[in-house]
C-alpha cells in the first residue's frame, strides 16, 4: 500500500501559451523550485482544453489535472478562458458521476508575470492530489 508520504502523484498541467505557460517560464527564470510532479502540455488557449484530454489523462495514469488560463478579461483570444471555465464546471459534474473527486481537476489563472503564483499553485495542487491518494479507476 502506498503511504501518503511516499506517494508521488502524476499530474498533467494544461497551460495556455500566452499567460500561464509564460508564467511557468517566469517561475523558471526566477529559479523557483517546485515539486516535479506536473508535466506541462502547452496549448494555445485554455479554451482548447477538451474534456476528453482530462479523461484521457486520468485513464492513462494521471492522479490529477490542472488547467491554467489567463486571468478573466485578459485572455489573448478574448474569451477562451471563459470557455475553459464553463467546461471546467461541466467537468466537475462529470468527474463526480464517474467517482473521481473533483478536487483532482483544478482550474486556476496565472498571468505571464506571476511566476510565484505559478509555483504556489503547483505546490498546492500536488499537495491536494497527494492527500487524495492515487486515483484508482477500477473502484
Amino acid at each position: 500500500m502506498t503511504t501518503v508520504e511516499s506517494f508521488e502523484p502524476k499530474i498533467i498541467g494544461f497551460l495556455c501559451n500566452w499567460c500561464s505557460y509564460a508564467g511557468a517560464d517566469k517561475a523558471g527564470g526566477m529559479q523557483l523550485s517546485y515539486p516535479p510532479n506536473v508535466q506541462i502540455i502547452r496549448v494555445m488557449c485554455s479554451g482548447r482544453v477538451d474534456p476528453q484530454f482530462v479523461f484521457s489523462a486520468f485513464e492513462k495514469g494521471a492522479d490529477g489535472v490542472i488547467i491554467l488560463a489567463c486571468h478573466p478579461g485578459d485572455c489573448h483570444y478574448k474569451e477562451g478562458n471563459c470557455r475553459a471555465l464553463q467546461r471546467h464546471c461541466m467537468l466537475n459534474l462529470m468527474l463526480e458521476q464517474l467517482g473521481i473527486e473533483k478536487e483532482r481537476c483544478r482550474l486556476d489563472y496565472v498571468s505571464a508575470g506571476e511566476g510565484e503564483k505559478f509555483s504556489r499553485v503547483i505546490g498546492e495542487t500536488v499537495e491536494t492530489v497527494r492527500a487524495l491518494g492515487p486515483l484508482r479507476l477500477d473502484q
Binding site: 502524476k10 498533467i12 517560464d25 523558471g28 516535479p36 502540455i41 502547452r42 484521457s56 483570444y77 470557455r83
Partner: protein, 650 residues
Amino acid sequence: MKIGVYFCNCGSNIAEKISSAAVAEAASFFPDSPYVTIVDFICSEEGKLQFEDSLKAEQPDRVVVAACSPRDHEATFRSCLTNAGMNPYLMQVVNIREQIAWVTEHPGVATEKAIAAIRGAVCRVRLQQPLEKKQLEVCPDALVIGAGPAGMKAALSLAEAGRSVVLVERTPFIGGLPVRFEDLFPAMECAPCMLEPLMGDLLHGEHPGKIELMTMAELVEVTGFYGNFIAKIRRKPRHVSLHECIGCGECVEACPATTMNEFNSSASGRKAIDFAFTGVLPNAPFLMEEVCVRAQGVECRACKDACPMGEDVVDLDEESTVVERTIGSIILATGAGLYDASRVAGLGMGVLPDVYDAMQFERMLSSTGPTGGEIVTAAGAVPSSVAIIHCVGSLDEDHNPYCSGICCRYAFKFNHLVTAKLPGASITHYHRELVVPGKEAHMLLRHAAGNSSTTLKRYAAISDLAVTRDDSGTLHVCSRGEVTPVDMVVLCPAVIPAEGTDRLSALLDVSCDSFGFFRELHGRTDAAQSTLKGIYLAGACQEPMDIRSAMLEGMATAGHTLAGLQPGRTIEIEPIAAEVDENGCAGCRLCLSVCPYHAISFNSEQNISHVNAVLCHGCGTCVTACPAGAITGHGFTNEQIMAEIEGVLQ
C-alpha cells in the same frame, strides 16, 4: 519513422540538472527509437550550424528539440529546419530549461521528468504533419467612414503614401463636429482655420485623385475579409453637382421652401436647398427632398433656373445610387455625439428657454451659427450671468458611469469666450469632478479660476442641482438650498457614441463595449484595431476623445493599413489554424458562437461551417466545441495532444 532528438546542454544551465546520457539511454526505448544528438548551445550560431548539418546528414522525418522555452527559440529552430530542407512544422520543442532544470531541486528527479517530457514530445511529433503558410493577394486601399478629424487625417496620410482611399461621410460636409465650433481648447485656436488646411488638402491638395470623397453617403453592405473587402455604399442625392457648383448661393435665394437647420442645432432656419452653414466645405448647397415643394407635388424649378452655371448643376431628378468598391482595410472614424441632457431630470433641458447643451452653445458662439456669434437669450437680451454645469450624465451610474474627459476643458473654453464676449458677466461652474489633463489645458483652468467674475462650485450628485425659472424669466440654479439667479444655463452632457454606431457594428460584425462605443482589440496595446481583423478604429467612435488624440488615431489606423497591406506583397496566413471537415460537419453552428474573431461562416445551402484562415487566430476553441469532432486544429490536433498526454504518463 526516423526521429531525431536534439538535446541542448545550454552550457551548464540544463546539463547540471539533466543527464543527457540518461536521456539518450531512455530514448532507445521510445517509439521509433529516436537518435539523440547533444549540442552545447543550440541557439548559438555554431549550434545552429551543427543542428542544420546534422539534419542534412541524418534526414530525420521528425525532430524534437529539448532546450529552452519554445517562447524563446521555437522560431529559431523552425528556421533551421527550413534551412535543412525540412518542413518547419515537423518539430516539437520540449522546454527542459525554464520548466524543468531551473525549477527542480534534485538532478535525478529533473532527469526523470525530462525523459517523460521528451517521450511525450516524441509520441506527439510522430503525428505532426507538414504545414504550409499560404499566401494571399491583397488590395492595399482603404475605406474610411467619417470625415471628421480622425477620418480626414487617416485618408490624407494614406493618400500621401500613394494609397487610394474611399472616404464616406454621412453629412453633406467634411470636418466633423469641430468644424462647427468657433474656437478650440486648449489654445483657443479658430476651429475652421485649424481644419481648413486639412480640408483643403483633402478636396484640392496634392493627392486629390487618391481620395474619393462621398458626402451624404453611408455603408450598406460589406462582404469579404481583411485584404479583400467589398463594400457597397449608398450615395443619397445631393441634387447639386459638387464638380460644377461654384457656391454662389443664387439657388438658395430663389428657393421658396423653408425648414429648421439641424446643423445649427435647429436654432435657425434654412431653405430646402441651402448650405449646411456658412463657410462649409465642400462649398455647395444640398437639397432636402422632404422639404422641397416638389415633394408636395408642386412644380418648381426655381433653384435650377437661378443657377448661373447652367442646366446641369442642379439635378432635381437625381436618385440615390449604390456603388461598390474593393478595399483591403476599413477605418471607422464615425465620431461621437452628446448625451440627451433632457434625460437628466431637473436641469430644464428642452423645457426652459435659455438652457442649452454644449453643441447648441458652440453654435451660438460660432460666427457661422444662428446668432452670428452673439451670446443672446431667447428674448434677445445680453445675459449678465451664465451657469455652466459639468458632468451632465457623466460619472453617473444612472446615466453614463465614465468621465467624458473633454467636457471640463471645453467648459473652461466657454468661460474664456463668455468673458471675452460679455466682459463683466458672472460665470458659475458647477462641477462634480474637475478633469483637465495635458500640458496645455491647465492654462484654461488657471484663467477661469483667476477670473474675478468666475465661481467654481462642486456638487456631489447631479440630483443636488435643479434649474427653475421664475415669472420674470430669470433662471435659478438651486444647489442644496443655495439659489443662484442666472440668465443662461449651459449643460455639458456626456460624450456618447455617434448615432448609427450600433448599425455599423451589426453590419460589420464589429463588437461594441457596454457603453456602445466600438470595442478595441486591446485597450492598451491595440487600441486602434477593432475586434475584427482589417477594421480599425480612429477617434471618438471608441471613447470620448479630444481632437489631438483623434488625429493621432487617424495616423495610427493609416499606419496599420500601410504596414499590413503593401502593393505587390501578399499576406501570409499562419497554418496554425482550424479547418472544418465538410463530411463530418453536422451543421450545428456551435463553432460560430464560440469563435471570438467571427472567422467561421455557415453555408446554409450545404449545411456546413467554414473557417476563414485569414481571420482564424488558431486558439482552437472551436475545435474543442465541435460536438462532431469535425474541426481540426492544425498544429494542435486531438490526436497529437492525446499522444503527448500518453507519452508523458508512460
